[in-house]
Structure formats: structure tokens, C-alpha cells
Amino acid sequence: MGTDTGKTDAKAVSASKRLDVKGFVCPRPMVMTMNLLKTMNPGDTLEVVANDSSVKHSIPSLCERAGYKLLSQRDEGGEFIFLIQK
């Protein structure tokens, strides 16, 4: 279901932390993701679930710029799920 642009097998990596930002609208999903990643250690993974389409641009841009690894990106019926490694 949905689109999957996973770069690795997401099932092989379990998230150290999960962040549910469904129901929050831009800019808060991005701000919350940035703030939580800041508190995590290098190598930790974070799963972010959002339903505001703004994250489709903002989270990949954040990973690219900050050097975080975007392990997978899924779209499930209007919900967007990202697995990020710090």
C-alpha cells in the first residue's frame, strides 16, 4: 500500500525512538523532529509518523543538510512514515 522509497530494508532496523506527530501541522512536525533528534546519540534511529504533507519535503531536506541518514520513507493512506538514523 502507498509508496515506499526505502533505501534499506526498514524492517531490519528497529527504531530507538518513535515520534507521533499526526494531527500537527507545519511547522511543528519539523520542529519536534529536529528537537528530538538533537537529544539523541549518533547511530540512534528515530521513526517519525506524520499526516501533514509538508514533511514530504522538510524531513528529507533536514536529513540531507544535517547529515542524518534517511533509512526509509513510506506513504500509507495519507500518513507519512520516516526512519531516520542520526
Binding site: 500500500m1 502507498g2 509508496t3 525512538k17 518513535r18 515520534l19 507521533d20 499526526k22 494531527g23 500537527f24 501541522v25 507545519c26 511547522p27 511543528r28 519539523m30 520542529v31 519536534m32 529536529m34 528537537n35 528530538l36 538533537k38 537529544t39 539523541m40 521513526e47 509518523v49 499526516n51 501533514d52 504533507s53 509538508s54 514530504k56 519535503h57 522538510s58 531536506s61 533536514l62 543538510r65 544535517a66 500509507e76 493512506g77 495519507g78 500518513e79
Partner: protein, 467 residues
């Protein structure tokens, strides 16, 4: 043959995915928005020529904007609520450079006011784009703070719109039109967004501090994985292999049906005497479609350099502004050379003054808090974002209630004194005495603005990485 069909089908699927499912690059959305903005200006010039020649004085389309549309849609809501608020009536007309109002037209229906149609067109374009991408879903915030941000942002934007006589979409048209108002709008919205970003940072810090007392230590509760979903429709199946529910699967089919129905309605509308309004609706639909596909958001473009340290949207916006400046030029020169079409030269130019700067700053704070301006709200409303509905309704009501203030002599004297007697007093080519000089100045200002926001974004992001 099979291979050929497979090839064509394969090509179609890949193309569909690229164009309708994946997000467009921002520059591509900006180009499509510029095309629709230039189309709307061209259609407005054509409708002006038809009005002046007597061919059809009632079909007065206008360049892209939403301001008067806010008043009309607000009027409809006020009537539904029992005629609360101030009286309004839908009208159109052309205010000539010397201040005389020509071809004044009162409409029997508020939806015939040209910019009300623009708003509905953006909403429709956003809806079709969201359905084609299977991205429509009713999303209800459970966190009460989101409602607070929507209402407070909506009130500030409503007041701001009255004072600055427009919204960020009007500012794009006004930048292309080379009005002094646009420079004040961009300056004010940038300042307002800076403070809006600071308020959001403060609110998030406060939120994190409160959560730390009773949560997982990082400031956030762990994810409740789909157990307490906030997407209330469509419902996802219990297991991932349960197949795609019909409410998602058939969204593109619904989009196609809506488009066909709309084409039929617009043909009919054109046939009964409103071809320019029908075409203008089409241009607005393209704007809404391009905004949803690229995720183009004025609030994001102005706020993010100060909040998360990203200026890619700001640069896309600068591209849009520059394309509009160049794209409007042929119609403006036509207006300058043809006395009967003089209004084509000064479409979208409004009187300016300190009110525009104050209003734009207020609007900037409001759109940073709400997460969307008027046109952003329209395409995101079409995606099913309930928070955005609340912000948009608040903005529409507040601006319609206070719109008549704008017509008061004291308001004009204090807040918008320049250009009231002769609108060319706030028209850059007239002030500078040269079109090339005005174009160069406007492009220079936009490039400087984009560079400034890019610099700010670098500073913000460096602080984030180092902090």
C-alpha cells in the same frame, strides 16, 4: 503487441507517479504558479478590453488575489450566522488612475466577485491534486494547542489582511505589478514571520519542559502506533496486507470525475456570459494544483529561515516573483500605450502607507502561528487538515467584519495616504519615470530578499547543529 501495451502502460504508470504522486521540485511548482499568474493577468486584460468595448461589461475578471474574496465568502458566513458583522455587497469595477470608478458592477451573487472565484479555484485545484496523489485524509488535531494557534493566527491574519489590503498571494501579483505596496508587504511579512518563528520556538521549549516532568525523558510520549490515530478518514486496514481501502484506492477516480464535471460547469458558465471568470477560475485551479504538488507555502517561505534554517521555499518564491515581474510586462506596456486599457497597467496596485507595513507584520506573525496564509490554507483545507479549516474560517470572518473600516476617511489618511488621489503615485515605473529601471529595481529587491533569507537560514541551521 502485449509488449507494446506493457510499455505504454509502464510509461503511463511511471509518468503518473512522477507527476501526480511524488512531490514536485519547488522550482517546478513556482514556474507553474507563475504561468497561472500570468494567465490570470492576461485574462483580466482581455476582460477589461471586452468591458471597455461594450462587448461584455459584466464579466470582469481580475489578476490572482484573494482579498475581496475573503470579504465575499465572509459575507456568506455572516448571513448564515444571522447577518452578524457589517453589511457587505459584492461588487467589481475599475478604478482609473485618476481615481474615477468605471464600469461599476454590483453582482447578484457574491461568488461572482472575481477573487471569490479565485479562492474557490485554488481550493478546487488543491483538492484535485490531493485526490490524484491519494493524499486526501481528514486530519483532526487532538492537541488543543493546535486550535489555539489556528484561532490566534487567523485573527492576526484577518486584521493584517484589512490593513495591508491583501494577502501573500496578492503580494505576488502586486510585486509583478510593481507597486510600492508590494515592497512594504514583503518587508512587513518578513519581520512578522521572524517574530512568529520566535513565538513558536518559545512555545515548543515550554511544551518540552512540561512534558519532561512525566514522559520518556526526551520530552515526548512514545508513539502510539496507529492505536490512537488522528486521521479519522480514510481508515487504514488492521494489517498492512489488508489491501488498499476503497476510500484511498478510488481517490484518483473521484478527482477525474470532479474535473470532468468542472469542465462542463465552466463551459456552461462561459456560454451564459462569463467566459473570463470561467477562464480565471481555471488559472486559479492551476495555482492550487501547483501549490499542492510542490507543497508551496508562503508561510513556510517567510518563516523557515528563522525557525528551522531552510530557505529553499524562499528561493522558489523569489523565482515566482521574478517570473511574474517579467511576465506581466507585455500587458502593462499595452495598458500604458492604450488609453482605453489604462487600467491594465495598474491592475492590483493599491494605495500604500504605514498600514501596509503594520498589517503585513501582523499577517506574518499570524501565518507563522497558523502554519498557512490564505492560499496555503485553501490547498491544505482541500487535503483535509481540520486545523487549517479553523484558521481559515477565523481569518475569513475577522477580515470580513473589519473590511468596511478600510473605506473610512480616517483609515485612509492615517494608514494608506499614498496613491489615494492618483494610484500612479505608488506605481514604481511612474515614480522612477522608466520601466527598465523599475524592473531592475524590483528584481534587485527580490534577489536581495532571497539572499538575506538564505543568510538567515544558514545562521539558524548552524545554531541548531552547534547547539
Amino acid at each position: 503487441m502485449d509488449e507494446f501495451e506493457f510499455g505504454v502502460l509502464g510509461w503511463w504508470r511511471a509518468w503518473y507517479k512522477k507527476f501526480f504522486r511524488e512531490k514536485w521540485p519547488l522550482w517546478l511548482s513556482a514556474i507553474f504558479m507563475a504561468i497561472s499568474g500570468i494567465m490570470a493577468y492576461g485574462i483580466a486584460t482581455w476582460s477589461l478590453a471586452r468591458t471597455v468595448s461594450g462587448a461584455n461589461p459584466y464579466d470582469q475578471s481580475k489578476p490572482l488575489g484573494t482579498f475581496l474574496g475573503l470579504k465575499e465568502l465572509g459575507g456568506i458566513i455572516n448571513n448564515l450566522l444571522g447577518k452578524i458583522g457589517l453589511p457587505h455587497y459584492p461588487f467589481s469595477g475599475y478604478i482609473w488612475p485618476d481615481g474615477t470608478v468605471n464600469f461599476f458592477r454590483q453582482y447578484p451573487n457574491p461568488l461572482l466577485e472575481p477573487t471569490a472565484g479565485t479562492m474557490l479555484g485554488i481550493l478546487f485545484g488543491g483538492l484535485v491534486a490531493a485526490l490524484l496523489a491519494k493524499e486526501f485524509a481528514l486530519k483532526v488535531p487532538l492537541d488543543k494547542s493546535e486550535y489555539g494557534l489556528a484561532v490566534s493566527g487567523g485573527v492576526m491574519m484577518g486584521f493584517g489582511a484589512v490593513f495591508m489590503f491583501g494577502c501573500p498571494l496578492v503580494s505576488t501579483t502586486n510585486i509583478g505589478a510593481m507597486g510600492v505596496q508590494s515592497i512594504l508587504m514583503v518587508t512587513g511579512m518578513t519581520i512578522g514571520s521572524y517574530f512568529g518563528a520566535k513565538i513558536i520556538v518559545w512555545l515548543e521549549k515550554r511544551r518540552m519542559a512540561l512534558k519532561l516532568a512525566f514522559s520518556d525523558g526526551a520530552g515526548y510520549r512514545p508513539l502510539m502506533h496507529f492505536e490512537k490515530t488522528r486521521t479519522i478518514w480514510p481508515r487504514l486496514p488492521e494489517s498492512a496486507d489488508g489491501g488498499e481501502p476503497a476510500s484511498i484506492k478510488y481517490q484518483p477516480h473521484l478527482a477525474l470525475a470532479l474535473m470532468l464535471a468542472m469542465v462542463a460547469v465552466l463551459f456552461r458558465f462561459g456560454h451564459i456570459g462569463y467566459p473570463a471568470l470561467a477562464l480565471s477560475f481555471g488559472a486559479a485551479t492551476l495555482t492550487g494544483f501547483a501549490m499542492q504538488r510542490g507543497g508551496i507555502c508562503f508561510a513556510h517561505a517567510y518563516r523557515e529561515p528563522f525557525l528551522s534554517g531552510f530557505a529553499d521555499m524562499s528561493r522558489a518564491m523569489a523565482l515566482l516573483y521574478i517570473l511574474l515581474i517579467l511576465g506581466f510586462l507585455p500587458m502593462k506596456l499595452l495598458g500604458a500605450a492604450t488609453p482605453d486599457l489604462a487600467y491594465a497597467e495598474i491592475f492590483a496596485i493599491s494605495p500604500a502607507g504605514v498600514g501596509v507595513l503594520i498589517g503585513a507584520a501582523l499577517f506574518g506573525v499570524g501565518m507563522a502561528l497558523n502554519g498557512a496564509c490564505v492560499s496555503d490554507s485553501l490547498w491544505r483545507t482541500a487535503e483535509g487538515q481540520v486545523k487549517i479549516w479553523i484558521g481559515l474560517l477565523t481569518l475569513i470572518c475577522v477580515s470580513s467584519w473589519f473590511f468596511p473600516m478600510r473605506e473610512e476617511p480616517w483609515f485612509k489618511t492615517i494608514f494608506a495616504p499614498y496613491g489615494s488621489k492618483n494610484i500612479r503615485d505608488v506605481y514604481l515605473p511612474h515614480i522612477l519615470g522608466s520601466y527598465p529601471l523599475a524592473v531592475a529595481l524590483m528584481i534587485g529587491i527580490i534577489v536581495l530578499w532571497a539572499l538575506l533569507l538564505t543568510w538567515f537560514s544558514g545562521r539558524t541551521f548552524r545554531k541548531y547543529m552547534e547547539g
